[in-house]
């Protein structure tokens, strides 16, 4: 299993990252990719850009824990998670989750699982830029519900 986890300020080429997962491999039968992009609106309000704040150190650790859990749940042959931080203009890529397996079910499920947990457990915070100024994006109950459906044991400790 090859896992690539990267946090970066710079834009990246999602197609090239996916190609890298399968290069020279003949055991992979399915790759599922999710690419998250910056929309030009938030709750109906036009926005120019997002700024993503993150917790360096914990963000990598938390994503790695979720990748480990995905690997324990499904027979994966590759996982790539790339998450940007800093200012991201409308239309640009924010996040890539790609999962590879021999068959599609595991790849679909693991990609969905990882995205649901990235939304609610990875320490990132989005701030939107509008003509009125900046505002923090509020967490959505629907995202919590999406993560809950995997009914994993709580990762709370102590």
């Amino acid at each position: 299993m090859t896992a690539i986890i990267r946090l970066q300020r710079e834009a990246f080429d999602a197609a090239a990252e996916v190609e890298r997962m399968t290069l020279g491999r003949t055991d992979i039968g399915a790759v599922v990719t999710f690419t998250g992009l910056c929309r030009a609106d938030e709750n109906g309000e036009p926005i120019a850009a997002l700024t993503l704040e993150h917790y360096p150190g914990m963000a990598e650790a938390e994503i790695a824990r979720h990748v480990d859990e995905a690997c324990a749940r499904w027979p994966l042959l590759g996982v790539t998670v790339i998450h940007r931080y800093g200012r991201i203009a409308a239309g640009e890529v924010i996040v890539l989750v790609a999962t590879a397996s021999s068959h599609r079910e595991a790849a679909f499920a693991a990609a969905s699982f990882l995205m649901d947990y990235l939304k609610t457990r990875a320490p990132f915070w989005k701030q939107v830029e509008t003509v009125a100024g900046t505002a923090w994006v509020k967490a959505k109950a629907a995202d919590d519900a999406a993560a809950e459906r995997w009914s994993a044991p709580l990762r709370q400790e102590h």
Binding site: G36, Y55, H83, K119, R121, A122, F124, Q127, W136, A139
Partner: protein, 83 residues
């Protein structure tokens, strides 16, 4: 111990991190937030709705009843909005 603040918690406090030595009676994350909130108006504002603030100890999510003894780094932040 080192405290870190993110997003609007950081903005309300006007700082991203600091070093604190809470008194012996402050044993849990919730008690630490209550102790911080009593420091001054700025802390009171940042922690006025402590129930919504999440915490992590040494890079792991914890509940508000988690013990802070032995913690190297404690972070406070709003619910996460990544992805």
């Amino acid at each position: 111990m080192k405290l870190l603040y993110f997003a609007w918690v950081r903005e309300r406090l006007g700082k991203a991190e600091e070093q604190v030595e809470p008194p012996a009676g402050v044993a849990t994350v919730a008690e630490l937030m209550a102790w911080l909130a009593r420091r001054d108006d700025q802390y009171a504002y940042a922690f006025e709705n402590a129930k919504v603030i999440r915490a992590a100890i040494d890079h792991r999510h914890v509940r508000s009843d988690a013990a802070i003894a032995g913690a190297g780094e404690i972070a406070f932040f709003p619910p996460m909005t990544g992805g």
